[in-house]
């Protein structure tokens, strides 16, 4: 029931994640961050099997940070996504694959373009203008199809995101304890 959404605007990517961490019949915390910053201009949001999610996200984070330290350079969002996808592909034919679905939001400083990728546990990858994983997709994709246009300003993007969150609050049967917004642009990753 975790919510992760993504949306690209003209110069930025907006990533929204729900804040409830649920195990069984209890809510463990209401301020859970379902993202990891893997590079100065790239964020990975995750959802899926408990444990696999954080382990895989932190594995990606460690590898990308090591690359940055060794080579004194930042990998572009497409390059990072290729790495993430190839690791999931390797995991898929192992004894116990990582059951993690991911959204990668990044800003390529070299070409000054925002990128959003939808990647799932089967190692599919799609570059998309907007995305969602899980049940949230059933409700939000239709709104995004209706209201999204190219070259949105940040405020317009945030308004569309608000519409999506309102819809989820109305229609999802569980309280997901609100949404945390992350914005990725030329200045890096920040919380809205």
């Amino acid at each position: 029931m975790d919510v992760i959404l993504g949306l690209t605007t003209k110069d930025a990517v907006i990533v929204a994640t729900s804040m409830a961490a649920v195990r069984g019949v209890s809510i463990l915390k209401a301020d859970d961050d379902k993202t990891r910053i893997v590079a100065p201009h790239t964020l990975v949001a995750y959802t899926g099997e408990a444990g696999d999610t954080v382990q895989f996200a932190e594995y990606v984070q460690a590898n990308i940070q090591l690359h940055g330290i060794r080579n004194e350079t930042e990998l572009s969002p497409p390059a990072i996504t290729s790495f993430v996808r190839s690791e999931l592909a390797k995991s898929l034919r192992s004894r116990k694959p990582y059951q993690v679905n991911i959204l990668i939001g990044g800003y390529d400083t070299a070409t000054e373009t925002p990128y959003l990728y939808w990647v799932d546990y089967l190692a599919s990858r799609a570059q998309v203008p907007y995305a969602a994983h899980g049940y949230a997709a059933y409700y939000t994709l239709s709104l995004l199809d209706r209201w999204y246009k190219t070259d949105l300003s940040l405020e317009e993007g945030m308004k569309i995101m608000e519409m999506c969150v309102t819809e989820l609050r109305t229609r999802l049967p569980i309280d997901f304890k609100g949404i945390q917004i992350k914005i990725i642009d030329r200045d890096g990753v920040r919380t809205a």
Binding site: N71, T73, L75, A79, I80, S82, F83, A110, T111
Partner: protein, 250 residues
Amino acid sequence: MADRYSFSLTTFSPSGKLVQIEYAFQAVNQGVTSLGIKASNGVVLATEKKSTSDLIDASSLSKISNITPDIGMVYSGMGPDFRVLVDKARKSSHTNYKRIYNEYPPTRILVQDVARTMQEATQSGGVRPYGVSLLVGGYDVDNGFSLYQVDPSGTYFPWKATAIGKGSTSAKTFLEKRWTEDLELEDAIHIALLTLKESVEGEMNGNTVEIGVIGPASDHLLGFEGVKNVPGPRFRKLSPREIDDRLDAL
């Protein structure tokens, strides 16, 4: 063979030198001159194609090779050692980079990889150092055009312009006088030919001189057309005709 030669053949002398590497440098300095020049909009690599006989089919031999579509390499020293390094660099650019990140490595990272290979030959069992110095020219989005030299020891340096091999000292002095910050690619090719002329012993024409250029993307060299967002390679070799035209203009 590996267990009988698990000790390195490159060992320190009492004065603290690695004599095998010094000897490798000798092999490089006996080799034909090669040079590289970085311009504001490209890199030129040039070398003489010295043949021992007029019966040799010069067109079948290639001393300047591309490693990725945007990176090229030339050498001074032992040709066979160069071939091995080219093959390793080409393979490594795929297995250690492109097959992970789906893009070709930037120049510096490829150079570091080649340098590591050459260093390993100075500290491993049963092998000798590579008898070549390399000049690697390339382009990548983050760093633009760059030129690197790699030595038999595994050291690598970035250069604005340099020469290696037999006539390298005088060639470097020549280049020092002529290199400027705002050189364009055509000027750099012109200077490269002038510099080579000083060290070439025989005739200098499109068949005895090889020039490689890393410049603007050449979409016509892709081998296909009609696919969007696929830039052509930046590395290309000048044909003998193109070289002759420029030699006439000298």
